[in-house]
Amino acid sequence: MDVRSRLVGYAWAIGAVAGATLAGLAMRPRFDVVNVAMVFLLAVVVVALRHARGPAIATAILSVAAFDYLFVPPRGTFTVDDVQYLLTFAIMLAVAMIISRLVESVRRQAAQQAALEIDAETERIRSALLASISHDLRTPLAVMAGASSSLAESGERLDAAERRALATSVFRQARELSEHVAKVLQMTRLETGAIRLDRDWAALGEIVASVLARLAERLAHHRVIVELPDDLPLVRVDATLVEQALGNLLENGARHTPPDTVLRVRAAGRSTDVLVTVEDYSGGLDDADFARLFAKFHHGAVEGAGGGVGLGLAICRAIVRLHGGQAWADRVPGGGTAFHFTLPLETAPAMPQEAPAD
């Protein structure tokens, strides 16, 4: 427990005893001393419930002292005429001890419960990942096994075009599979905190360019419009990871929208961060799909079926948050989805100086 909360506890002890004393003084003309003892006991119980054992015992001792001095005859001294008051003191101390021990054990159990819940959450994500793996791996594996066994067993009876088609489909599915496995691994590494950011100055323009080159085939049926201001500041990020985050958003856009629609990539420098937006103009998603997609992005939830999609968005979100940025999504007026993320700006580095040429 830190010093601050301990001080607060002792302040409560003093406050509670002071309160009980005032109440007791107000009660003295009309109530029996035993009832005044009850008020002090209440103070002990309150402090024991709210604070650690130290303040609770302090309250008990202070209460005994105040009670003895002000209420137990002879008043104005700490001497005790009647031995039975010693029992009152002992009970006050015992109550303080018992209640604070009870409270401590309840607190410990609550902490254990919370830890168990985190474990359960991790377990849930893990089983969702497993479900997603088995679902998304089965189809490509089936295709690969089928196509390659056709080639191996009856390749000579197929014509060149058929052989090529089969081989190409093995290649495509294998690449798809490899992408998916990479995503699963990546998500696992992000979940377990196994990723250390390798930050360096990066230009978002270059990150966008390499995403577009890497995903050229997947984005071939969409019109990708890039809007980057010329004076976009550099960001200090793990460029490989940010490239993945942006790539996952574009892949998601391409997968969810009909061919020949527009995907728009935008970035803007703001006062403390850079805002990156990927917009699509699908209009085809109903509210339920929309809610599901958003949930994946906002909560990093991963679903079993079609997990590849949720995985991509969850990875994007995890990468952005690892960089200290925010990720969110909203609807584009007129139908469509906008995925946004921010990357915090750092103080711009010293720029190279070059004498005028020639």
Binding site: A174, D198, D200, A203, G205, S210, A213, L234, P352, A357
Partner: protein
């Protein structure tokens, strides 16, 4: 073929299935292939077979691929292409800084690897200073005369921009790491000033690429470095 009638390629790779398809693909292209299943074997084979180029997997069972590269580099300038898994980002850069000339990431299409092999072999037979004139897209850059044109129009390049292009041009078609570029263009004290590269590469693209957002020649290898791809 650039490196003689029948260039020899050494493949250092422990997975037999990967050696098989690499052997087949390289054989079809007319290369003579020597296969080594371990790092130590690979290093010995490099000495006895004197290959024109080596393809080295980074994850070898006995010694680290980077160590194989260091040992080969200690006595031979032969081009070395590294094959790495995606999660080995750091060792990939380490391998390049240790003297590897290029890399492919698993899984790769054979065409991609063959293109790297051709570029590396071409580089090996070219004079070490690189070509004096670089042509890519609509740009023509004369490094000796310090003149640049794009689509027939004169373009002004600063001395640093020329030096950057010359360094990339020396390894035409191959990746050059941030550290290598910074050290060779700005000097060893600037080896970590990656932001210099970000600024100057943007300037070069703005001046020389047709569409700077979708560059065809001044290519970013995210997290690794840059590559200049000229027209064949």
């Amino acid at each position: 073929m650039a490196a003689g009638p029948r260039a020899t390629v050494l493949v250092v790779e422990d997975e037999p299935e990967i050696r098989r398809f690499l052997g087949a693909a390289l054989g079809v292209e007319g290369y003579r292939v020597v296969e080594s299943a371990t790092g130590r074997r690979g290093f010995l084979d490099a000495g006895t077979h004197k290959p024109d180029l080596a393809i080295v997997d980074l994850a070898l069972p006995d010694i680290d691929g980077v160590e194989v590269i260091r040992r080969i580099r200690a006595w031979s300038p032969m081009p070395i292409i590294v094959v790495s898994a995606r999660i080995q980002e750091r060792s990939k850069i380490e391998a390049l800084d240790a003297g590897a000339d290029d890399y492919v990431t698993k899984p790769f299409a054979v065409g991609e690897l063959l293109a790297r092999v051709r570029a590396a072999l071409r580089h090996a037979v070219r004079p070490a200073s690189g070509a004096a004139i670089l042509r890519f897209g609509t740009a023509v850059v004369d490094l000796e005369q310090r003149r640049a044109r794009r689509a027939g129009q004169d373009v002004h390049l600063t001395p640093i921009e020329f030096r950057l292009l010359a360094t990339l041009g020396k390894h035409l078609g191959m990746v050059v790491t941030h550290r290598q570029l910074l050290t060779q263009v700005w000097g060893p004290t600037h080896a970590a000033d990656t932001h210099y590269l970000r600024i100057y590469m943007k300037q070069l693209r703005d001046k020389l690429e047709r569409d700077p957002i979708r560059p065809m020649h001044l290519i970013t290898e995210t997290g690794v470095g840059y590559r200049l791809i000229a027209d064949d």
